[in-house]
């Protein structure tokens, strides 16, 4: 682990009766979850069961969608992310997010793609920027590949590199928790493996939540797994059916739907 990204104190997330809505429509039945510090929690389930929706509630990105709102609470340690008058931008600084598609800010260089969060926070000192960018790129296992071309447009990188650049950008602002929404679904197996190794390293510094469609991936890297399904009684609504240690879920699932889902996919 690099020294530039100093390990931060452990932070846990707690979801209490979390109910995300799109307009009037409830997207997921009330969720209660405990995501312990410095662990990787995987969220799995069939398409449309609300994995992304729940994930986006954890850094208040959900409400960036017009008409979307949330009931219930999410605690970061013991602080309510949904307390009244709390600016969501402050939450998002503490809970970072990496998206499904690798996203680079198209008009910026590699360096500026990593530095953007610091610039928002008003950091202008060159030395501090340089050190943090390098630290974040090292932590994202990208430094050696890009150190010669930091001033090139970020669009020049490959998909896998762009995804690690996204991770570096998120690390650079030193969040407590990082959310990953299917970070490998657009990548080839080798790039995927690199990201997985990276996640295992990052776990020492951050609390990690990852949505994935890939059962093996969940089994390989996560400490615990939350399984969501679609409740078809009435309007399709997501529902949390099981949450346990990953080893437990994959060997002896407590819910028959989980078993069907895992065996159907893993075959």
């Amino acid at each position: 682990m690099s020294t530039a990204v100093a390990p931060v104190a452990a932070h846990s997330l707690t979801l209490r009766q979390l109910r995300p809505f799109y307009g009037k429509r409830l997207a997921v039945h009330a969720v209660d979850l405990n995501l312990p510090a410095n662990q990787i929690t995987a969220i799995i389930g069939p398409s449309g069961c609300g994995k992304s929706t729940v994930l986006r509630c954890l850094n208040r990105m959900h409400e960036a969608i017009e008409g979307a709102r949330v009931e219930g609470t999410v605690l970061l340690d013991d602080e309510d992310l949904y307390q009244p008058d709390l600016d969501p931008t402050l939450v998002r600084r503490k809970v970072g997010m990496v998206f499904q598609q690798p996203v680079v800010l198209r008009t910026r260089t590699i360096y500026e793609n990593v530095a953007v969060g610091l610039r928002l926070a008003g950091v202008t000192a060159r030395s501090e920027l340089d050190a943090t960018v390098e630290g974040a790129l090292r932590a994202a296992a990208l430094w050696d590949e890009v150190k010669e071309k930091l001033q090139m447009p970020a669009t020049a990188l490959s998909g896998g590199q762009q995804q690690r650049l996204s991770i570096a950008r998120t690390i650079a602002v030193k969040p407590a928790v990082i959310l990953f929404d299917e970070p490998c679904s657009a990548l080839d197996p080798i790039a995927t493996l690199k990201i997985e190794e990276l996640l295992l390293e990052l776990r020492q510094t951050f609390t990690i939540v990852i949505v994935t469609h890939n059962m093996q991936q969940a089994a390989r890297i996560s400490d615990q797994t939350a399984v969501f399904m679609v409740d078809q009684s009435g309007a399709p609504t997501g529902v949390l059916v099981e949450f346990d240690r990953t080893a437990q879920i994959f060997s002896q699932p407590g819910d028959s739907r989980t078993e069907d889902y895992i065996s159907g996919r893993v075959g």
Partner: protein, 330 residues
């Protein structure tokens, strides 16, 4: 649909053959009309070029820097045509228009595309587009009868009495208010819809992921716009401004009714002046000599060349971004 295939069979042989092989002819006919459209543009260029031959031969490029425009010989001055008053008036009014309209138009585009509630987006867009649909003579009428009195009392005179004492361009006399600044303001209003609609359209094609990345880093809504959305669509916005500029340069009615139609150069921008378009509109039908006519046509040729260049550049910029989404509208 069945008749479509059976009808030719039922008809005579010649017709059938023609029916079957009509495609070549059809293609030729529609292509011919396309060629005609292309030809129209050439015609505009050629006709104004030939029509201005006399003036071009007599004045050459010096036409644009000549400061005297004297269609009628007097005891003190010979007949001569210098376009500088018109060129200056056109440039100043258009630049004032773009300076005023660009920030406002971009702001409208941002509000429509990024910030306004979805329920009022459509009606608001429509209202802004209506501004473009109002005939320009009505802008002129409203400008003369409503804006000018207001402008002289509330803006022009106070400014001329304060700032005007330091800056010659804003100095008295304001007079009736007819002049470069009033014209620039009306032109600004007229090009607002062009700039705002193009801004809105090019912002709409910015991928949402660019916004979400910034948001997820804890950026405010404005920082998302400033840091990700605007840089991404910069070329398209510049293109929109250029199209607006093109429209301002060639706009005739508002200018002819408000600028004062005086081919004279005054220090104060509140004073009557002229623009190329308004000079053509107000003088061509009663030109005093073939040279006078030719000089006015020379102005038209210049306007055409400038707007053609601007349009070409702007459309390349806009098309680069939106791949045709916004380009066909204007």
């Amino acid at each position: 649909m069945a008749t479509t295939s059976e009808r030719p069979v039922a008809l005579g042989n010649a017709w059938t053959r023609w029916f079957r092989h009509g495609d070549g002819l059809f293609a030729a006919i529609v292509a011919l009309f396309s060629v005609l459209v292309v030809g129209l543009v050439f015609a505009v260029g050629v006709v104004t070029y030939l029509g201005s031959a006399e003036a071009r031969a007599q004045f050459g490029a010096g036409f644009f820097t000549g400061i005297d425009w004297n269609p009628i010989e007097t005891s003190i001055q010979a007949v001569t045509f210098g376009a500088w008053p018109a060129v200056r008036g056109t440039l100043l009014t258009s630049l004032i228009a773009v300076t005023l309209a660009a920030p406002v138009g971009i702001g409208i585009g941002i509000y429509l595309s990024e910030l306004c509630p979805r329920s009022i987006r459509q009606p608001l867009s429509f209202m802004v587009e209506l501004l473009a649909a109002i005939p320009s003579v009505i802008y002129g009428l409203w400008g003369v009868l409503v804006l000018l009195p207001f402008f002289t009392d509330v803006l022009a005179n106070p400014i001329a009495d304060s700032l005007g004492t330091i800056i010659p361009a804003l100095a008295q006399p304001v007079g009736t208010g007819r002049g470069i600044i009033a014209t620039g303001m009306i032109l600004a209003l007229m090009i607002l819809p062009t700039i705002s609609a193009i801004t809105r359209d090019v912002l709409a094609v910015v991928p949402n992921t660019q916004r979400e990345v910034m948001l997820a880093l804890g950026a405010t809504r404005w920082e998302v716009i400033w840091g990700a959305v605007l840089p991404y669509s910069r070329a398209g916005i510049v293109g929109g401004i250029m199209l607006g500029l093109g429209r301002a340069l060639g706009e005739t009615m508002a200018a002819v009714m408000i600028v004062g139609n005086t081919a004279r150069i005054s220090d104060s921008w509140f004073q009557p002046a002229t623009t190329a378009a308004s000079q053509i509109a107000s003088e061509l039908t009663n030109a005093t000599s073939p040279l006078h006519e030719s000089a006015l046509i020379y102005l038209a040729l210049t306007l055409f060349a400038i707007t053609l260049t601007l349009n070409l550049a702007a459309r390349i910029l806009v098309a680069q971004l939106s791949r045709g989404a916004a380009s066909s509208r204007f």
